[in-house]
Symmetry: C2
Subunit: 327 residues, 2 copies
């Protein structure tokens, strides 16, 4: 009973915009606490969360290699959205550390200017140990910030490579940041972020080579072929986030992309696709827990011994496990 009451009180607190309630809810998400399930059910039972206009918050992912100015850009965007009167959520996700745990907080210093603003909710989050990793922790944390009335929600990834692509899957709009002369063009192609970027920003554009980097990017994007009528054509912008230059342009492009998402129906499609991924991740986690139970009973252990000693192939062993778990 106490537990149920706690969750209800937390949700009520978050809906009032109480930062401590929001903080505790995100801790529950991050730790995968036993209350997580009740919390998510309570948030869903509360109906469409978020601002009064009845739609979901605009979730904006920011990604890019270390050193391109992700935190500075995030901070500049927070400032701009605050000036426009919005309540803003910021999630900084560090998916890179499977063992050590704990999000990298060094960069967060740059967000200090917003730390005492009651209309800005900032949270660093590691995905260590979370079932399904980023794929389930991030949407849960986003739901908490939505319930607290945050719109937009900025999701900043700390890390490189595949995690960038993964985080892009969690956002309505993905902003890919680059800096001049970092060989980023090739890196971008390699990591697959060209395919996931809705908006490209060459930050630190006061440095040499910014125009060339922008040109290369536009060229690489154009290699993807001419856009279909009504399709979104990712713009390539320039900024100097540390001086606030170009942020107006980024804000304008973000608003345009958001409008396009709603108008074209792509936003609803992406939300459904994200929900599919999340449901599958959780369902697999449930089934994986059942494998663990089989393991303690000895079935998985004895099959593993057979495979390890070369007496059985892993496919046949997997079939037997599936038959025990799922009939």
């Amino acid at each position: 009973m106490t537990r149920t009451l706690d969750v209800a009180a937390l949700v009520a607190g978050a809906r009032r915009g109480d930062p401590r309630s929001v903080g505790r809810m995100i801790s529950i998400v991050e730790d995968g606490s036993p209350q997580l399930r009740a919390l998510m059910a309570a948030l869903a039972a509360g109906g469409t969360p978020g601002p009064a206009r009845g739609s979901r918050a605009h979730v904006i992912g920011l990604t890019g290699s270390p050193g391109v100015g992700k935190s500075t850009t995030t901070s500049a965007l927070v400032r701009a959205y605050r000036e426009a009167g919005a309540r803003v959520g910021v999630l900084a996700v560090d998916p890179s550390s499977p063992f050590s745990g704990g999000a990298l907080l060094g960069d967060r210093i740059r967000m200090q200017e917003h730390a005492t603003d009651p209309e800005v909710f900032i949270r660093s989050m590691a995905s260590r140990g979370h079932l399904g990793g980023l794929a389930s922790a991030t949407p849960q944390a986003i739901r908490v910030l939505e319930a607290a009335g945050c719109d937009p929600i900025l999701v900043e990834t700390v890390g490189v490579g595949q995690s960038e692509v993964e985080i892009a899957g969690e956002s309505d709009t993905t902003v890919v940041l680059l800096a001049p002369g970092m060989g980023d063009g090739i890196q971008a192609a390699k990591a697959g972020i060209l395919e996931v970027g809705d908006l490209f920003v060459v930050n630190k554009a006061d440095r040499d080579g910014a125009d060339q980097t922008a040109r290369e990017l536009r060229h690489m994007i154009s290699l993807g072929g001419s856009p279909q009528p009504g399709a979104w054509q990712p713009p390539v912008l320039k900024s100097v986030a540390s001086r606030g230059e170009g942020i107006d342009g980024v804000m304008k492009a973000l608003a345009e992309h958001h409008a396009w998402l709603e108008q074209s129906g792509t936003g609803a499609l992406r939300r459904r696709q994200r929900a599919r991924t999340e449901i599958q991740g959780l369902a697999l986690a449930v089934l994986q827990a059942r494998f663990g139970d089989l393991g303690s009973g000895g079935t998985l252990d004895s099959l593993a011994a057979d495979v390890a000693e070369g007496r059985l192939d892993a496919f046949t062993a997997a079939d037997r496990i599936v038959a025990e778990v799922a009939g």
Copy 2:
């Protein structure tokens, strides 16, 4: 029938050490071809593969940040094992590229000296699209090389971060390579590779700062506490792989670790743990395919719409999917 004959012929070819048979088998693994299941069953049915002494090949993982000299070190080790009369397998795995596909072949140039040696089997492999990713493709490819009589098998990871930790799980012995003055100490702690390294090598030891890097590493390892009696204490060695310096020491440490693995029973434990992971990965893939079937039938789609619109929480949706799939 033809397909069965093909697989049998391939396995026989591999056991003779025919490089074309080995190459085709690894392509089957990499592509997840329909013949993969039959191939793995045939390899298991053939009994303990590998050299006549009846044990499994020594699987050695090499990992480290770009620029530390992974390919050069791998090449130097191949040379040393060849001089000792061994047949050597080399797998270069690139897990970093989810979209573009294809392993990075640039580095492979350094392996050219071994390209025409019939007793060296070299293969670059991407894990794109493979069900269960590295966790199942790598052990399958290792099994192919074992069947071809390779011992040792060197597995070199191209990439950074979590993939390094992942590849470590596939090896009997994990060699972590570092270079002086790259801030690698902190990176190592961050990526969790301190925990997975059985052997640390500071390569490019003719550069400034090699002794300091080795000292820092030993210090960080010692922070893990005093070793239990009989436990393995990871040595920290130095090398200049491009000139072959220090490779003797690495070979000696590899042999010592291999002997310790067999003598302590840790080797068998690790093989079983790997088999567990592999079986679970394949079983989850089977179940995930069933989710896909449900999706086309509409169940998953309608649950995803409910979750996306905030009418249902993802846990409850996942429970319903599990109930349909696994009763």
